[in-house]
Symmetry: C2
């Protein structure tokens, strides 16, 4: 018996794997590249199946720690702004054939074999807002790509992952002023135009520049920095940062 | 073997019981009695343990259906305004000794026996807003009381149920204008004073009557009804209802 076969045998049930059965999480990881709001999407080997990065909860690990661990494994980042937004528990999201296809294609399963990952899962959805430039996305053992896609150019996602993205976006919209969503997506210093682009991407609509500036400056959350007069810099836009 | 013993044996594992292991829900059921915002609380037999009403998800049942079923069993109500607010997955909430105490006191467990209810659970929190007068709370087989308590006079609750109540209240506060929370707690016709009491109970603070009225009337969501001039009725306050 090869080492891999032993490993497979060992992890055939949730108990053997050390994970809780039936409970998963999926994460909608938002990043802003300076122009466009993007989401991190996995592509599984040889399946044309696209999915949100997700994972499982260890028996002796809190749900939040499990999500932080998964996000760290996939992005290398720690201390990420992470928020739970909804738990998905429909019967329609239970499609064992899709999971079986992924696992067969990766040699993680023999045809007809029982496996704890083929059972029904209820998934807790989290969203994360991360600094695009500090991230080096890592595909996991089941996937061959982990890439950024603009929110309005996503490929069709498997299971109920499209619904998860829509619900995460709705939550961002509901919280756009309350929780300083922009502060976690923008670099430390940014232009008013960049801030407006983050807003527009989340709201899914254009805003008049004057309206946006009046509203944001009225919130009294921004500090404007002095321009540095080097060459053409006096024509450069003002830079802002958030008042801590 | 008595029928009861057979039943106990049969339900010793989640699989035998027909429920998913490790996944529970708990519900914060709000009602307004015309003066005070209240929550439905269970008291377990002979334990002095108080808890939110909760339950489990059947293998072939969606999470939402499970919560609706539990709420119907406990209140007799259908078509309830129900909203998921947070999923609780800390390690601290796993206190098997507390669950064992409840089950031993009710004869649902023999001392030292293993049982699926003694394993770790992650619980999905829902809140419900119900019409106080249409409800006849029913204790379940484990509890001897199911009663309304004012939100600011709750007994200490078991596990993380106090945290659940606070998080549900916070969610109500965040949504107080957006989702017409009052519409689900008030009778069809109500006075401005009753509406203000609902607001104050949710916000946990007093509001000036004039401020409240100006804000609410500004939202353009209320219809004012004609007074009926019978006896002293012209001294009675105006009644309002929500514009559908």
């Amino acid at each position: 018996m090869t080492k891999r076969a032993i490993h497979k045998k060992y992890a055939n049930t949730a108990k053997e794997s050390g994970f809780l059965p039936h409970i998963a999480y999926d994460s909608v990881i938002f990043g802003f590249d300076g122009e466009t709001l993007k989401i991190l999407i996995l592509e599984y080997h040889n399946t044309k199946l696209f999915a949100l990065p997700g994972g499982f909860v260890k028996e002796h690990e809190s749900l939040n720690d499990a999500v932080r661990r998964g996000l760290h494994d996939r992005t290398g980042l720690e201390n990420i702004y992470l928020e739970q937004f909804h738990t998905f528990g429909s019967l329609e999201r239970f499609v064992p054939a899709t999971i079986e296809q992924i696992m067969l294609n990766n040699g993680h399963l023999n045809s007809g074999e029982e496996h704890w990952l083929l059972e029904r899962f209820i998934s807790v959805g989290y969203y994360a807002l991360i600094n695009f430039n500090e991230v080096n996305p890592q595909p996991d053992t089941l996937s061959d790509r982990c890439e950024w896609y603009p929110v309005n150019e996503l490929p069709p996602l498997m299971l109920d992952h499209d619904e998860m993205v829509q619900k995460a976006l709705q939550t961002l919209r509901d919280n756009i002023n309350k929780k300083l969503v922009g502060a976690n997506l923008l670099p430390e210093k940014f232009t008013m135009k960049q801030y407006q682009q983050v807003y527009e991407a989340i709201l899914g609509e254009k805003i008049r520049r004057t309206t946006f500036q009046r509203q944001i400056l009225g919130l009294d959350i921004l500090k404007r920095h002095e321009k540095q007069f080097l060459g053409k810099a006096h024509k450069a836009p003002f830079l802002y940062s958030f008042i801590k």
